[in-house]
């Protein structure tokens, strides 16, 4: 799930702090983000835009944090949409819905734990690449 490859250079303290903050940003957003999935994306997106011209280490981690939030956003939008269709629309409470809610909670929980871990580790200057999002970030974020 998580790898620690060597980064191309040793980031300075300011870069580490901003890289770590990009994860903390999505962490704060998670608290609000469960009922309002767009909050996650907005918070991380704004932080990404603020640092898109920053040093490579910071940019790289802001991108990874933002891409992960896009994925979580999709999961949470499905969950909220499905819930609203049950409460206000023609949707019906079924085993498949409950199973999805538990799955979505597991995905959110996994992402939450990974985010905390990565925020701590990047603050110490270690590079962290997540499953799927790491290679994807490498593909879209160049030095």
């Amino acid at each position: 799930m998580i790898k620690h490859p060597e980064f191309s250079y040793k980031p300075d303290d300011s870069e580490r702090e901003k890289a770590s903050n990009s994860y903390l940003m999505s962490l704060i957003a998670i608290m609000v983000g469960v009922p309002l999935p767009v909050a996650n994306l907005l918070a991380t997106g704004i932080f990404y835009l603020g640092n898109r011209k920053g040093p490579y280490f910071t940019r790289w981690h802001c991108t990874q944090a933002m891409l992960s939030q896009v994925t979580i956003f999709v999961v949470n939008v499905i969950t909220v949409g499905w819930t609203l269709s049950i409460v206000f629309g023609s949707g019906e409470l079924a085993n498949t819905y409950i199973a999805w809610v538990i799955t979505a909670m597991l995905i959110n929980l996994t992402e939450f734990v990974m985010t905390i871990y990565t925020a701590i580790v990047t603050r110490k200057g270690r590079h962290v690449e997540w499953w799927f999002w790491g290679p994807l970030t490498n593909a879209v974020c160049k030095p």
Binding site: A94, T96, A99, W100, F132
Partner: protein, 264 residues
């Protein structure tokens, strides 16, 4: 770019697997109907039939019952259902309704037949009720409403008791869940098509019965206990338009014969 795509594919596979695995868990207690046992279900059905007989006389129109049984047989034979495993009961009553009771029994009130224009429309209604049986909706619903223990106790009671009347009232005057009704409509559509009958007849019946007023009754019971008939009819017609049905398919009885049978 290959690596992230591969990892995305694997992630989706794992998430779908977790979701599927969790959805097999019966969180809502919907799939425990087998545990009540066929014998108990049969006993409960017999009790409810006795209760019905206390309220409505059985129809003496044997010719009509024979045609209904032919339609039932044709539907069952074309869809791999054993017709002998299901009993049809026709009651003389102005109540415009048809329903399923435990023990694989379909009850039909003559009031509903008066509303049909031809045998094909009735076949649509019968296919819908048949689907409630094959999909085991009745026992799922009763178990949700009453619980297994109470149902087991009920099967040892006598007809005429208040609680038996209550079970009968629920089965004949209240709706199944929307999911069950949708499933029964979809299955009825399949049954009609497999038998070579146009499912649009069911849609026609739904549309007509939803707007028709007769004897001051604006909403027949069979409609009150089901979701909006216009939506259901629209869904059936949409699917029917894509069908090409055999014009020479078996028809149990002509429209005029049906009308004269029903009015006897």
């Amino acid at each position: 770019m290959k690596k992230p795509l591969l990892q995305l594919f694997l992630s989706i596979l794992v998430i779908a697997g977790i979701w599927y695995g969790l959805s097999r868990i019966d969180f809502l207690g919907e799939t425990t109907t087998e545990s009540i046992g066929r014998e108990t279900e049969k006993k409960l059905g017999e009790l409810l039939l006795k209760q019905l007989e206390l309220q409505h006389p059985r129809s003496a129109n044997d010719s009509l019952l024979s045609v209904i049984e032919n339609i039932h047989r044709e539907l069952c034979d074309s869809n791999g259902v054993d017709p002998e495993s299901i009993d049809i009961h026709l009651f003389d009553s102005s109540v415009i309704n048809a329903a399923v009771i435990p023990g694989r029994n379909i009850i039909i009130f003559t009031g509903l037949l008066d509303y049909t224009e031809n045998a094909d429309e009735f076949a649509g209604v019968l296919a819908h009720e048949l689907a409630h049986i094959t999909e085991n909706h009745v026992m799922e619903r009763l178990q949700r409403e009453f619980g297994i223990t109470l149902l087991m106790t009920l099967s040892g009671m006598d007809a005429g008791t208040e609680i038996i009347s209550n079970v009968l009232r629920i089965l004949t005057t209240t709706a199944y869940s929307r999911q069950h009704e949708r499933e029964a409509d979809e299955k009825a559509f399949e049954y009609m098509v497999e038998t070579g009958w146009d499912p649009a007849h069911l849609a026609n019946f739904l549309l007509r019965i939803s707007t028709k007023t007769r004897d001051g009754v604006t909403a027949p019971q069979w409609i009150q206990t089901h979701p909006d008939p216009r939506d259901r009819a629209a869904a059936i017609i949409e699917k029917s338009n894509k069908l090409s049905l055999d014009e020479d398919a078996f028809r149990p009885v002509s429209d005029s014969d049906w009308q004269s049978l029903v009015s006897q």
